[in-house]
Symmetry: C2
């Protein structure tokens, strides 16, 4: 790391009991928690793609999002966050203050979710800001969520509300780590995925991995207020419901589990009996069926194919 920025960061870091060697060596050394699997993921945020171009980005918000989207991946595996390493390519001019604000944003969310920042790398260049986080988590071997275990007859739940993220909250991602771990402690989940590219697309991915399909009750889909705003601002992007199904950048969880477990879980939340539940909405939006593909079920019972809409990454 650029020495000045390292010094600034290391002065802010509390000693972490998971670390075996103090910060500042060639690599971080951690004691893996006994009896748990290691969970490992990475995400890079690029200026002008995942956040606005300078001067319109808030580096603190970018730092928050860079940690948050990785936490969302761990949430989809019902895992406990442990440690992160961070890489940033900073502008040559003003890089120190951008770097400090960015790391402040990271530190705030890392503290909230008990992530140790254990290492990193910084470059100054003439290119745009790019921020990479790699995150380690852990999970008890039998408690791990995967995306390929959904079973016919399962109910599909979604956390929070979806759609219109780019019109509002896409930097203020709130990863569902605590929700996932509470659910994993309460019921057996068969499949889970986080919604990064769009509800319909990510649901279709989970169904494809599991070898089945899903019916979605359109009236049940929790539409975020941002989706309503976005639909007003740009009607060409579809109705609020279409946006809820396809916009992406929601970082909510889709969870598939047996119908009686879903009922028990939703009942416990509704009656306040799930201790520690943070108040996040959890909504049943459909069910897993044997026929591949997605089907939309409208309020009057009409069934139509549901295209797996969402953000499709592709090269031109």
């Amino acid at each position: 790391m650029e020495q000045q920025l390292i010094d600034w960061l290391v002065a802010k870091l509390a000693a972490d009991p998971r670390l075996d060697v103090p910060n500042g060596d060639d690599a971080a050394v951690l004691r893996p928690p006994a009896g748990r699997r290691t969970v490992f993921c990475t995400d890079m945020l690029c200026e002008g793609v995942h956040f606005p171009s300078a001067p319109d980005y808030d580096p603190r918000a970018v730092g928050h999002k860079a940690i948050a989207v990785n936490l969302s991946d761990l949430a989809a595996m019902a895992s406990r966050p442990e440690a992160a390493v961070v890489s940033v390519s900073l502008p040559r001019s003003g890089g120190q203050s951008v770097g400090e604000a960015l790391l402040e944003g990271m530190l705030a969310i890392a503290t909230r979710f008990d992530v140790a920042l254990v290492g990193g790398d910084t470059t100054s260049w003439d290119g745009p800001l790019a921020v990479n986080v790699a995150l380690l988590g852990s999970v008890a071997a039998g408690r791990l969520w995967r995306r390929d275990g959904c079973r016919v007859g399962d109910v599909v739940l979604v956390t929070g509300a979806v759609g219109g993220s780019l019109a509002g909250r896409h930097l203020a991602v709130e990863p569902r780590v605590n929700e996932a771990r509470l659910i994993a402690d309460t019921v057996a989940v068969h499949g889970a995925i986080d919604i990064s590219d769009g509800l319909a697309l990510d649901l279709s991915r989970m169904m494809q991995a599991s070898g089945c399909g899903a019916e979605v009750d359109l009236a049940a889909v929790p539409i975020h207020a941002d989706a309503v705003t976005a639909a007003k601002l740009d009607p060409s992007g579809g109705t609020p419901l279409m946006r809820a199904l396809g916009d992406g950048e929601d970082f909510e969880l889709l969870i598939s589990l047996a119908a009686d477990d879903a009922e028990r879980l939703l009942g416990a939340i509704a009656t306040g009996r799930l201790a520690g539940w943070p108040g996040t909405p959890l909504t049943a939006i459909g069910r897993v069926v044997a026929d591949r593909g997605l089907v939309a079920v409208s309020e009057d019972g009409r069934r139509t194919p549901l295209p797996p809409s969402g953000y499709q990454h592709a090269f031109t």
Copy 2:
């Protein structure tokens, strides 16, 4: 990842016994090896900084270097490589072929050093190529090398030869992972660091962390042929020796250990008794002393302060 590139990569990957969940879930799940510490590091390579700007870079060589520099950090901790996650920001036009060549370069070195590629993230943008690797390794708790344990009286060894890297081999980094693990199996090492920013600068960092200083025998420093070439091409950059001391990007190891252990180790290598040693030169270049700072000792015994020259990262 951009779906097309993921599909391409996953088709190339062999199943890895360390993975608990097949590739393609939200995060990778690994079984941590019993009784070992987790070692974790990251490094980002940026176009125009760590490799030439388009069209002058070879994406395969960039992929190689991105894995190699992280392996060099693990080598400095005498650790065994385990798994990597990779992020790339690719040009919108031609990104698929750049991405494939890059990943081919990564796969080749990952296979050689038994690193499982377990996850990643790809973005297309209008910015320059940026490649991040985060690497996990493991090490037996008592076998770990650190940079802060050098003792007065230690001998300092360096692997390979140093200087002039930018004039030749800076993309073809050969990480000293196997050398480090063989040495760790043979003798007790007190301190180690890899040379990324310059022999003198990285040696001074190791001495500072250890609370001591070092004398460097100038005539003993193994000067790379590239340093001679570089000094001819650009005499303003100093003599070959000055380049060997300060150029950086060498990714050789500096190792500090008791004099009798150093003698035993060098003797075993010289006589071919260190089974598996890959033939890499290993040279005693000086010793650890109580007085802080670095001292250069010339062939005639003259002692002068040695400035900690090297690549100083800074913002303007």
